[in-house]
Symmetry: C2
Subunit: 328 residues, 2 copies
Amino acid sequence: MKPYVLGIDIGGTNTVFGLVDARGVVIASDSIKTAKHNRIEDYLDELYAGATRLIEANDAVDKVHGIGIGAPNSNYFTGMIEDGVNLPWPTPIPLAKMVSEKFGIPVAITNDANAAAIGEMTYGAARGIKDFIMITLGTGVGSGIVINGQMVYGHDGLAGELGHVIVKRNNGRLCGCGRTGCLEAYCSATGVARTAREFLEIRANEPSLLRNIPVEQITSKDVYDAAISGDQMAKDIFDYTGTILGEAMADMIVFSSPAAFILFGGLSKSGELLLKPLRAALEKNTLQCFKGKTKVMLSELKEADAAVLGASALGWEAKPIETPQVPA
Amino acid sequence: MKPYVLGIDIGGTNTVFGLVDARGVVIASDSIKTAKHNRIEDYLDELYAGATRLIEANDAVDKVHGIGIGAPNSNYFTGMIEDGVNLPWPTPIPLAKMVSEKFGIPVAITNDANAAAIGEMTYGAARGIKDFIMITLGTGVGSGIVINGQMVYGHDGLAGELGHVIVKRNNGRLCGCGRTGCLEAYCSATGVARTAREFLEIRANEPSLLRNIPVEQITSKDVYDAAISGDQMAKDIFDYTGTILGEAMADMIVFSSPAAFILFGGLSKSGELLLKPLRAALEKNTLQCFKGKTKVMLSELKEADAAVLGASALGWEAKPIETPQVPA
C-alpha cells in the first residue's frame, strides 16, 4: 500500500488539505478559500494546484494511496454533495468523481462529522473501540456513529444526523432544518448563545456579566468566559445545555448501546462546565441495564489537525471508481 | 450444513419450540408452561424431553444445526439471561451454555425482538433489506435493529431497546422500567389501554362505547373494537398512539436511516387505525433529507409461527461454545 493519504476538509469558509502518513502525522498542510470561485471547476483547479505543490514538495508523487474528503451533506455511497448545503456551487455535485478524475487517485467522501469519527477511530480516542458515537459540538451539532467497527451510513448514505433528534417536542426552538426542537438548536455554539439571550430576558432582574455585551452579539465564548469568572447565569446556561445533551445521549444509548461517546468541537472544550451537568443527566436518564457503562470522552485529535486527519483516514478505504465494462 | 434448526421462544407464560427447515417451514412445534417449574433444571428437563420428541418424530436426530432462543433480557454475547426479568428463576442464567450442554448442539440466544428481526430478515418482509428497524408492539414495545445486514447488539449485547426512548420528557407516564415518558408507556397494548382510561376521564362528558366496560378492565382490543364500530374517542386513541409512534420513528431515522420499519405484534394488526396517523406523523416530523424514503411495513410472518421462526433463524448462526484449552 502506498504510504500517504491526502485529507481534504471542505468548510463553508476554508478548505484545508494535508498530506498524512499511516501513523496519523500530518506531514504538511495548506488551505484555500472555499467561496472564492463561483465555478466548482475553478475551485478544483486551485485545490489541485495547492495539493500538488504539497505532494511534490514532500517527495510523495505516486505515493498517495487515496484521497478522503469531509464535506457538508455529502454521501459516502454516491460520492455526491447533496442538495441544501451552504456552498457557492449548484448541487448535487459529483465531487468524488470530479476529484478522482482530476488527481488520478481514488477518492472517498463523507460528511464532516463522519470524517471526524473515522479520524478518531483511526488515530484518536476511539482506537480499539468498536461501538461509539462521535458528537461534534460546533456551529451546529453533528454526529458520526460507529457500530461493530463500521461507520453507520444507513440505506441512503446519510445516516447519523443526531443533531436533529427532537429534544423539545412542543414549543421548541426553530432549527436551521426548518423543524422545531432539534438538539442542534440547543446544544450547538449558536444554541448556547440563544439560551443566553433567553435567560437574559426571562431573568430580567438578575445581574450578569453577559449584560455588558450587546445581546445580539453574545457568543458561546462569551458565556464560557462569564462562567469561568463565576457568573451564575452563565453557569446556569451551561447546566441547561449539558442537561439537554445528556438527556438526548441517554436516548441514543437505548439505540446502539455504545461503549463511549466522544465529544468534539468548540463547545466540548468547555470542560466540566458542560460535562458535569451532562454526566449527571446521562446517569439520571439512562435505562437501568445500561447505567454506568458508557464512557463520555473528549476527542484526542488536535483541533488544528482534526478535520484533515478525519478526512484523510477515509482515504485509506478509497477505491477506484468502477468504470462500467463494455462488452467486446 | 445440517438441514434443521430448533427455535425456542421463552415467554413469561409459555415456551414455544419448533423444528424449522432452511426455507422457514415450521416442520413441527409444541409448547410447555414456562412458570411450571421453580427450578430451571426441571424446566430444562421438560423442554429437552419435549424437543427430543419432536426431533425423533420427524427423523431429525443428528440433523439439527443449531438452537436459537428468543428470551427476555437475554444477551447474545454472553449467552446469559440478565437480571430484572419476569421469569420464575434466579438471574443471571447462563442459558446458552445450559441448553447447549443438555442438547449437545450449539446455541445462540437473544431477546425476543431481536429474534423477530432476524426471523423477518431470514424468512419475512425484510429479506434483502440491509437496514431496517423491527418494532414489536405487544404488551411492551421492543425493537430489533439491523444495520448493514447485521443485528445491532451494541458493546454489551443489549442494544435496541427503542421502547425506552423518551417521548414525553416532562410529566410522562411511569414506565415499567422505573423512568417516565418511555415510548412503551404509550404505544404498547397496555399503553393504549392507559390512554383509553385517560381519555375517558379527561373527556368525561363525551359518550363512548368504552364506557360500557369497567374502566380498569379496558384492553387495547376493546379500543380496537370500539374504533371499528365508529366510536370517535376510540379512533382518537389510535390517532394519539400512532402520532406518538410516528414522531418517535422520525427520530430513529436520523440515527440509522433505515430503508424500512417493520411492525410486529398485536397492535400492528390494527391496520390503518394505527398506520394512518403514524405515517402522517412520520412524514411531518422527518428531517427533509430523509422524507419519503423509509417504508413502513407489517411483518410477513404468521403470528403463530413468528416467535419460533425468529428464534430458529438465530440457530443458523449458533456456534459451539469454546472450551478453554488446558495446556498439556
